[in-house]
Amino acid sequence: MRVVRLIEEGLVERFREGRIRGPIHTCDGQEAVGIGVTAVLERQDLITSTHRGHAHFIGKGLDPGRVLAEIFGKETGYCRGRAGHMLIASAEHGLLGGSAIVGGALPIAIGQALGFQVQGSDRVVVPFFGDGAAHIGMFHEALNIAGLWKLPVVFVCEHNEYGLTVHARHQSPVEDIAVRAEGYGMPGIKVDGNDAVAVYRAAADAVAGARRGEGPTLIEAKTYRMTGFSTSDQGGYQPEKEMAAWRSRDPIRRLRRALAKALAKGRLDALDGEAGETVAQAFAYAEDSPLPPAEEAYAEEFAPPRGPHA
């Protein structure tokens, strides 16, 4: 979580300096969801991500240096600079993948889960999505089919109260997305998304059930993005009182307090130091990496055939 926060702080700073092309969507305040859920998963389990995916990437084990290289559009990025921060994929880490079409990865995630079911595999798929995505048609198509076929999926909705600038109360007639699970024949679990341990526990149960073939779960993690939609956000719609209340529930500070009871004195500071070192090295790696040569734009349109008997 600390690594994610530091990465985002570094990205925002560099964006302000004009050193990054695209806007950055930070998940600050929401780190406990991505990190808590991915901590449950095995490497061969798949996740799909969103425009707000830094915690998902780091949680699924991607190298921070190569994530940052991708965001800087560098040749050493996971997608050789072709994806940028919203579309990152890493097949070897089970991130397939980022998507900046709201809700767009949900039908794909159930397809991945369908694949695992047909193959008789015990792999599980976890699509992350926002509260805004719960109002798009694809969400409903995907949950219906996942519930119907008992696919091994755990849907994780990061409810951060806003879809871009519009508050959830102006987007949905129901406060909790989790209630929709009932209509699709699966459990709907509401969890405090700023409590990493609670998120981990909820995800562990749901993932274990999916792995045993018991079908999907919808987890709704209640959380908040502390600094607005993205670096392009001009603000003015999040009440100051609301922001202050959520800042006092910062998931990193909460986890720190919880861990302070369990860990030896000084250990937490040492971990923070390691996180800082990791992120500094990652930025150095990304910034020192070369940009791809322009000819790479002509990379092949199609995958080459595998021969007539593929």
Binding site: L46, Y78, C79, R80, R82, A83, L87, A89, S90, A91, L96, G97, S99, I101, G104, A105, L106, P107, I108, A109, I110, G111, Q112, A113, L114, G115, F116, Q117, V118, Q119, R123, V125, G137, M138, E141, A142, N144, I145, L148, W149, A299, E300, E301, F302, A303, P304, P305, R306, P308, H309, A310
Partner: protein
């Protein structure tokens, strides 16, 4: 060789590939128990079971997305969209997801899936069940688009599509399902890409696809009786388009008529006409003629529907005008 219906040739391709390769799965609306509204998937669920052959809810976005996701993890899905008129519901998944992944993710995944659908007019389906929308998907890099005109190509191209590691939009024609023709026995694969010379000729080139190939052949027959030798090119894969075969033909005949059932404005015919104008201008003895569907919704009533479609008589007239 065996004389087969177009629909049976498609069925044979599915059957053979599912027997050969356990990773081939079929899903879509009404494809399982009933065997598809055009019966192309009949009997597959009985033979392969309801895990590999699934009736889905009416959810086109999910059908397309599931094809992508399942392909990504190693299946070879053949998903069905009942009418090409419903393809617009899948376009986000096709255009924003399937088409970008191989390139943007720098080759980390391949997406070996086929989206089978059928289009075209001629049976009184009306404005929401008769369209030709191939130009929309053929516009998109990263998608292959295939439109067989004959039973042999129906089998051979579907087999190739299932084995192809890329997304293939496979557009059948509803008015062709009952047409018959010879299909080679045993394994029959027609590579995706090359056009076919459906009838050789020397005086003019007619470039067509899908049902318009049959109309063009009829036109060529009429013209032959008048002493005009028309060459008919079946541009059976709109993407990737076999530009070499089209250009070689025009360089030989010096005249070109381009025919598509889809709307004329912004259609495939516009692309092919531009290709000829750019690459074979010096060989042309007359301007390129372009026939397409009338720029209107497809009307239901028989004389109206017939009026909006290119046909053999109009194609023959267009060729005569060039000579």
């Amino acid at each position: 060789m065996r004389d087969m219906r177009y629909a049976d040739a498609l069925h044979a391709a599915l059957l053979d590939e599912m027997r050969r390769d356990d990773s081939v799965v079929v899903f879509g609306e009404d494809v399982g128990v009933y065997g598809g509204v055009f019966k192309v998937t009949r009997g597959l669920q009985a033979e392969f079971g309801d895990s590999r052959v699934r009736d889905t809810p009416i959810a086109e976005q999910a059908i397309a997305g599931m094809a992508i996701g399942a392909a990504m993890v190693g299946l070879k899905p053949v998903a069905e969209i009942m009418y090409v008129d419903f393809l617009p519901l899948t376009l986000d998944q096709l255009i924003n997801q399937a088409s970008i992944m191989h390139y943007v993710w720098a080759g980390q995944v391949t997406l070996p899936f086929v989206l089978r659908t059928q289009g075209g007019a001629g049976t009184g389906g009306g404005a929401q069940h008769s369209k030709s929308l191939e130009a929309i998907v053929a516009h998109v890099p990263g998608l292959k688009v295939v439109m067989p005109a004959t039973p042999a190509d129906a089998k051979g191209l579907l087999t190739a599509a299932i084995r192809d590691p890329n997304p293939v939009i496979f557009i059948e024609h509803k008015a062709l399902y009952n047409t018959r023709g010879p299909v080679p026995d045993g394994e029959h694969v027609v590579p995706i890409g090359p056009a076919a010379i459906a009838r050789p000729g020397t005086d003019a080139t007619i470039v067509a696809n899908s049902r318009m190939v049959l109309e063009s052949l009829e036109a060529a027959g009429e013209l032959a009786a008048e002493g005009i030798s028309a060459e008919v090119i079946d541009a059976r894969t709109p993407r990737p388009l076999d530009t070499a075969t089209i250009l070689a033909s025009v360089q030989k005949t010096n005249r070109a008529v381009v025919v598509n059932e889809g709307w004329r404005t912004g259609g495939l015919g516009a692309e092919i006409s531009a290709l000829i104008a750019e690459e074979a201008f010096d060989f042309l003895d007359a301007p390129v003629a372009r026939l397409g569907g009338l720029d209107r919704p497809i009307p239901y009533s028989e004389p109206l529907e017939a009026e909006v479609l290119p046909d053999a008589a109009r194609i023959a007239a267009a060729v005569r005008k060039l000579l």
